[in-house]
Amino acid sequence: MGYFLLRRLAISLLVAITVSVIGFSLLRLSGNLAESLAGEDASPAQIAETAKAYGLDRPFHIQYFDWVTKALQGDLGQSLFTKEPVIELITDRIGTTIQVACYSLLLSLIIALPLGVLAAMKQNTWIDRSALSIAVFGQAIPNFWFALILIWVFGVLLRWTPISGTDTWRHFILPTITLSTFAMPQFMRLTRTGMLDVLESDYIRTARAKGLSPAVVLWKHGLRNAILPVVSLAAVAFGFLLGGSFIVESIFALNGIGYLALESIQRQDFPVVQSIVVFISVVYIGLTLLSDLINAQLDPRIRLH
């Protein structure tokens, strides 16, 4: 286990370094930063001055190490637009995003796991087919469109839920449903497929031959084996919910990090964009590591690799 952990940590660190280099380079490759910072009508002299002020005239690797050293100390620079420290902008906004992501992940798993298990148990019955239909529906409809429908039905027609903002838990209902509808089908299908495989396996037959109750056979001997890929997917999905939910955040006016990223891109606020990209990536890496550790805990064979 010690060796396994060390290996995973080392790999994660390497990925984090790679991502930070790519994240840092992308913005610098996307155009002359000094030019855009200085404004449209700036003279070459002004541009040179701006470049100097922001340290953009230095060699690339010096800029990178300077940025990394500061970032590790919690200094991600200042927003060009609001002049606030980027780290504060992110910490202010990340709470909302994490909240929505957690709710959505939780709701999808709560629905997907039992539904997936049930569909596998009742393979090719109407239960199985309905579960699959729900999955296809969830995966096929576009996020933003479904969000609008929800707003129209529950917010406008029925007036059950608020449609924008983050003041109370009720504000999170519609965004959570929207995001879960997208995430749930993948979990459901993976659980179902995994469970179908597992139910055919010899050790399930052994468990039944031992007279164990159907519940123990299913939940103890079945699910733990079937759930491994679901854990990995959950990590990826959670990362996606963090970084990819900006459409949903804009629709429901959730002041999250996705929305911040969108704003900052439009304002060409490059320290913020760059920090968010790297921040989300690091969270992603952390989640992948976490899912690997959970899986290693669930299946001892994984600890060997």
Binding site: S201, D202, Y203, R205, T206, A207, R208, A209, K210, G211, L212, S213, V216, K220, H221, R224, N225, L298, D299, P300, R301, L304
Partner: protein, 348 residues
């Protein structure tokens, strides 16, 4: 745990009469097991022999109550220690499984759950059947692991299946099956997936344990060499039917059914079979068992086949000596055939 309540010794541990299993498949109804009779006593080993698809595994699953949902089972009698298994509920049947009747499967590499320790899997069956708490279960597990010849038994309990070799895993499976001291153990080809040297060890182990725990043993195999080593009685199955049954000695020394004869031709006998000579083989393939079957199902592969083989049902002829076979030939005819052409019976 030791010191079982004395059972009626005249009663069979398992008594099966007229067992039929039908399985619904896309092409129709598969007659997987037809009119199968057998019984096992305490301390006795019954070998069910036959090639793949002959219904031997389905028979054992039927006895365990573990048939797939697409299968339906009927029988005139199915009793375990005098208890009628045909009338028990699913829950009552589950109470007996793992407790009074246990099963050892073919592939030890996949029969244990990879994500739980050996100890966990052994103890759970003991606790499930209310034999005692975790502590007693642990003690029983250590005791049995030592019984099946596993060293450092206590430390093995914390190990996972993938940390053990195939032979060790099968020993663990055997120990696990004995946790609740069952009256009957069904072993479905328990040595097929193992190395030859390990096979012999496992066979000896099963025999020893059977003597010690005085249980009935149904041993399912396609390997007549194995049968010769451990069987008290033999039931040869072909196409879902028992085609010959009797004491091991009767079946081996005087096989009456052409199929049994054919099977025996296929194995070399040390000292008898000439080195380099051709071993027998049974031509043809097992018929598809979809739909109602008529006559002798072996007739297409049988060199004695005649008109009488094609119609009706051929009963299991039993003399007074428990040796029965399903064939239209009279014993005299069969014996004559064998005398005339001892090796030509089934070759080519």
């Amino acid at each position: 745990m030791e010191g079982n309540t004395p059972k009626n010794t005249s009663d069979h541990v398992l008594d099966v009469r007229n067992l039929n299993v039908r399985i619904k498949v896309p092409a129709g109804t598969l007659h997987a097991v037809t009119d199968v009779d057998f019984h096992v006593d305490r301390g006795e080993t019954l070998c069910i022999v036959g090639e793949s698809g002959c219904g031997k595994s389905i028979t054992s699953l039927a006895v365990m109550g573990l048939l797939p949902r697409s299968a339906t089972m009927t029988a005139d009698k199915l009793t375990l220690e005098g208890r009628d298994l045909l009338s028990v509920t699913d829950r009552q049947f589950a109470d007996l499984r793992g407790d009074r009747i246990g099963m050892i499967f073919q592939d030890p590499m996949t029969s244990l759950n990879p994500v739980y320790t050996i100890g966990n899997q052994m103890e759970e069956v003991y606790i499930r059947h209310g034999k005692g708490g975790r502590k007693e279960a642990r003690e029983r597990a250590i005791y049995l692991l030592e019984k099946v010849g596993i060293t450092a038994a206590a430390s093995r309990l914390g190990q996972y299946p993938h940390q053990l070799s195939g032979g060790l895993r099968q020993r663990v499976m055997i120990a696990m099956t004995l946790m609740c001291d069952p009256a009957l153990v069904i072993a479905d080809e328990p040595t097929t997936a193992l190395d030859v040297t390990i096979q012999a060890q496992i066979l000896n182990l099963l025999k020893e344990l059977q003597d010690e725990f005085h249980m009935g043993l149904i041993f399912i195999t396609h390997d007549l060499g194995v049968v010769a080593r451990i069987a008290d009685r033999v039931a040869v199955m072909y196409a879902g039917l028992v085609v010959e049954t009797g004491n091991a000695e009767q079946v081996f020394s005087a096989p009456m059914h052409p199929y049994t004869q054919g099977l025996l031709e296929c194995i070399p006998i040390p000292g008898k079979t000439v080195r380099g000579s051709q071993l027998g083989s049974i031509p043809g393939i097992v018929p598809a068992l979809i739909g109602e079957q008529e006559g002798c199902l072996f007739r297409n592969r049988c060199s004695y086949a005649r008109e009488a083989c094609t119609d009706g049902e051929i009963d299991l002829e039993t003399g007074g000596d428990q040796h029965g076979y399903r064939c239209v030939l009279t014993p005299e005819e069969t014996v004559n055939h064998i005398k005339k052409a001892p090796n030509a019976a089934v070759a080519e």
